[in-house]
Amino acid sequence: MMKHNVHSADLFDISGPVEPLSWTFMVNRIQTLSYILFFPSTFIEPSMIWIILLAAACSHLNIWLLANWLRRMDRPDGYFGTVRLLGKTVLWLFSLFGLSLALVKCAVLLLGYVDIVNNILFPSLDPKLFVALLLFACLYLARLGMEKTLRFGVISFIGTVWVVLFYVPYIFPANADYYHLLPLIPERMPPHPWHTFLTLWAAFAGPEYLLMLPKQAVDERRIQSSLLIGNAFSIVEYVFFFVVCHLFYGSQYLRRLDLPVVQLVRYIHLPFAERLEIIIIPAYAFSVVYVVTFLLLYAAAALRMMTGASDVPSGRKWLGPAFVMLCLTTMAIQYWGWANEMGKNRWIEWHNWSDACTYAALPVLLMIAALLTKKRGTRHATNHSPD
């Protein structure tokens, strides 16, 4: 049978295993996204590199656990498999929880990115315009279904990864002052270490959503290496931008900046162009659209599960309501929460906490699922409808 059929009957139809590179890029883009643009301002001391490496190691462990779960042949597959494992009520609660998390995460990501666009590129334009255009781009991608959205990861990666090249000159003298990286061993405890860890941990969050993907999307032999390489890419990127910002600014000046990565690129003067942040910021829209679409599809799936309609093929029926809910959530947060800096920070903080919690809960969830699967037996964890 030929794979990659065009007319998928359902949003979640998967014709065959998704290529390893798509998984790698998916993990990488979901973990880096727009955090790259502003995160070094949180990591203002050189010794904080250890916090990055600690969070990265924990994330690597989490991804390893996740990949091992995805490789298991007896893991529950599809709606019925999950119902048999967890029961309808628990699944309904999970769906409700997942739906609200996905919607809020999408809204905060969109608004955070649009904030950067609005502040740096078009201060005079209404940010709602950018939100609307991005939302419609997400809908346009989401209508292609989960399979094609996952594969869009390759395009999203190519659309943004070249940005790193602009920063390479900053790791060499005369731009780089290597003394700025010292001391690596702190003389005193860095301020708010837990908060710093939480921010980065939340940045690494996202791959836990793969837990609910159908079996046929996963190539058991290669999923582990794909996900781990993706996480490793993210670690390299975070460390790279951390080092670059410290080498150029130094920790004293770094703490005064809001968007150090964006401001750094302003110092590049090419013979034919300056102010390269004007190119870099639009490029990050690739990642934003990709990640938000991925979550939007999850929201549609959660809605479908909550209404109990998962047992019948429903095409793209649930995408519309999920999209409307996302629009409403984004508008509500923008109207009530995003009006001032305090409100903004509160939502970002809330988002960080929720992301960090879901990512931290991943091992526990996997353990519970493994125990339940063992208890109820493999034969219950299949995708056959109950008779």
Partner: protein, 497 residues
């Protein structure tokens, strides 16, 4: 149910516009029935030949039959043969006994001569008029070195050119007659044992489903075969080069030859196929790779250069280095329009000139070129309608668009360029970025014969990259494109397993 489904259902309910099928009375047709059927056709001819002890009648349509062959291969053998041998003397590769009136009608329209013997036996002898062009050089895909022959309007000639290149029984051909009035012959070609059978199945079913009165061109056929009608991108490749077709068949693709058109259709194709030229394989591989890469760069220039100019000069002039900004300001100081209107006006003028030069006779188009050059190059600057910088930008993007080997793709790029221009004027570089994202999503959703259009990028097939943006040496191309899922992956016979 969406409106497309509704339209399709409504279309099915409409009465058929096809000619009513022939009522077969049973038994072979009589000369009278045939004459009634083809009444009021001035070149429909019936002749009586008095052979030894029997009268033989011939019926044919003069314009469809080769008169010389008719005389030498049918008339003379009948007249000079003995009664017992009359039928056997006819010289032809294709003699069919006709049992029904409808079959007789079909064969006459295909260029056969109906021969009525007194014993009620009716034979159709194919003597089709093969009037048409001889084999010429391809004008659309001309190359400096390499084979020069190209397909012609005669289906058999085109098939011969391909069969000569692939003289193996694996080259299968299936014939379809499509178009309720045009009765166009379409041949589906594929390499058995290489192509994925699922592709052939899809191609066959799509070809059979074509329901239209007249099919006169390969483009008409592809319009009915394509998966997405709301896309500017060509989903089939059209070529008149038999070497390119043979190569496509060996890759695991299918080919449609359409009667009375010199272009064949190839599918499935990817976005990257549209940037390949047969000449890539004639050059040294480094040169071929460079040229192919250059085409992609040229495509990007053709799409983005003018929109980027508008975005920078309207929204992000701070991106332009100071020395360049002075040049731009001086150039634009006398222009009364915004950069968007200036660029739009010049792009439209250029497109009008390009279109006019295509439609005009070749001698007149030279004059047009001079007039266009003066109008674009000098007069518009002198009149203060356009700036010098914009003229250079438009000229570069116009020349860059000519590097795209596929003409349909060149035209598609114009439309995208206009859309990006509007986005650039509205939202600057962010608008262009958004346009690019929309474009990528659109391409991600496209398919050609139900296969992904962006392969081998998305879905990613690492091994296929050896002949995509770059072209590696032929010795390293040991496998066929994996995204086509060919039955036989290897191009080489001696391989390590």
């Amino acid at each position: 149910m969406n409106w497309i489904t509704f339209w399709k259902m409504a279309r099915k309910l409409k009465p058929s516009s096809r000619p009513a099928p022939m009522a077969d009375a049973g038994g072979p047709p009589t000369p009278k029935q045939i004459q009634d059927l083809f009444r009021d056709i001035h070149d429909a001819q019936i002749h009586e030949l008095l052979a030894e002890k029997q009268t033989v009648k011939l019926f044919y349509i003069h314009s469809l039959v080769d008169e010389t062959q008719l005389q030498s291969d049918i008339v003379l053998p009948i007249l000079h043969g003995s009664a017992a041998q009359t039928g056997r003397n006819i010289i032809s590769d294709e003699i069919v006994q006709v049992d029904t009136l409808s079959k007789a009608e079909q064969l006459i329209l295909e260029g056969s001569v109906l021969v009525f013997f007194e014993n009620d036996h009716v034979y159709a002898v194919k003597k089709r008029n093969t009037l048409g062009r001889s084999i010429n050089t391809s004008e659309q895909e001309a190359i400096v070195y390499g084979p020069k022959d190209s397909l012609s309007e005669q289906l058999d000639n085109s098939l011969t050119l391909i069969r000569r290149r692939l003289p193996v029984p694996n080259l299968k051909s299936k014939k379809f007659i499509i178009g309720s009035f045009s009765k166009t012959s379409v041949i589906l070609l594929y390499m058995e044992g290489i192509v994925n059978p699922e592709l052939v199945r899809i191609a066959e079913s799509k070809t059979k489903e074509i329901d239209f009165d007249g099919i006169f061109d390969a483009a008409h056929v592809s319009a009915f075969l394509e998966d997405h009608i709301f896309s500017v991108f060509p989903q089939f490749q059209q070529t008149d080069r038999p070497d390119a077709l043979a190569s496509a068949l060996l890759s695991g693709k299918v080919v449609w030859l359409v009667d009375n058109t010199p272009f064949a259709i190839v599918a499935p194709i990817t976005f990257f196929d549209l940037f390949q030229s047969p000449e890539d394989y004639i050059h040294r591989w480094m040169v071929g790779s460079f040229l192919r890469g250059l085409r992609f760069v040229a495509f990007a220039i053709a799409l983005f250069l003018t929109p980027v100019y508008v975005a920078l000069s309207v929204h992000h002039y701070q991106m332009i280095p100071l020395a360049m900004l002075f040049v731009l300001m001086e150039s634009r100081s006398q222009i009364p329009f915004t950069p968007f209107w200036e660029a739009l006006f010049m792009l439209l003028t250029l497109e009008i000139l390009k279109e006019a030069s295509l439609r005009m006779p070749s001698k007149a188009s030279q004059t047009l070129g001079i007039v266009g050059g003066i109008v674009i190059g000098e007069a518009s600057v002198d009149a203060g309608i356009a700036s010098n910088v914009l003229i250079i930008i438009i000229a570069i993007s116009a020349v860059a668009s000519f590097l795209i080997p596929n003409y349909l793709m060149t035209n598609a790029s114009k439309l995208i360029q206009f859309a990006l221009l509007i986005l650039a004027a509205w939202l600057g570089m962010w608008g262009i970025g958004l346009g690019l994202i929309w474009l990528c999503i659109h391409l991600q959703g496209l398919t050609s014969l139900r296969q992904p259009y962006l392969a081998p990028l998305s879905p990613f097939f690492g091994r296929d990259w050896k002949d995509t943006v770059i072209r590696l040496p032929m010795t390293s191309m040991k496998t066929r494109p994996a995204h086509l899922k060919p039955l036989d992956r290897f191009r080489i016979l001696k391989r390590k397993i």
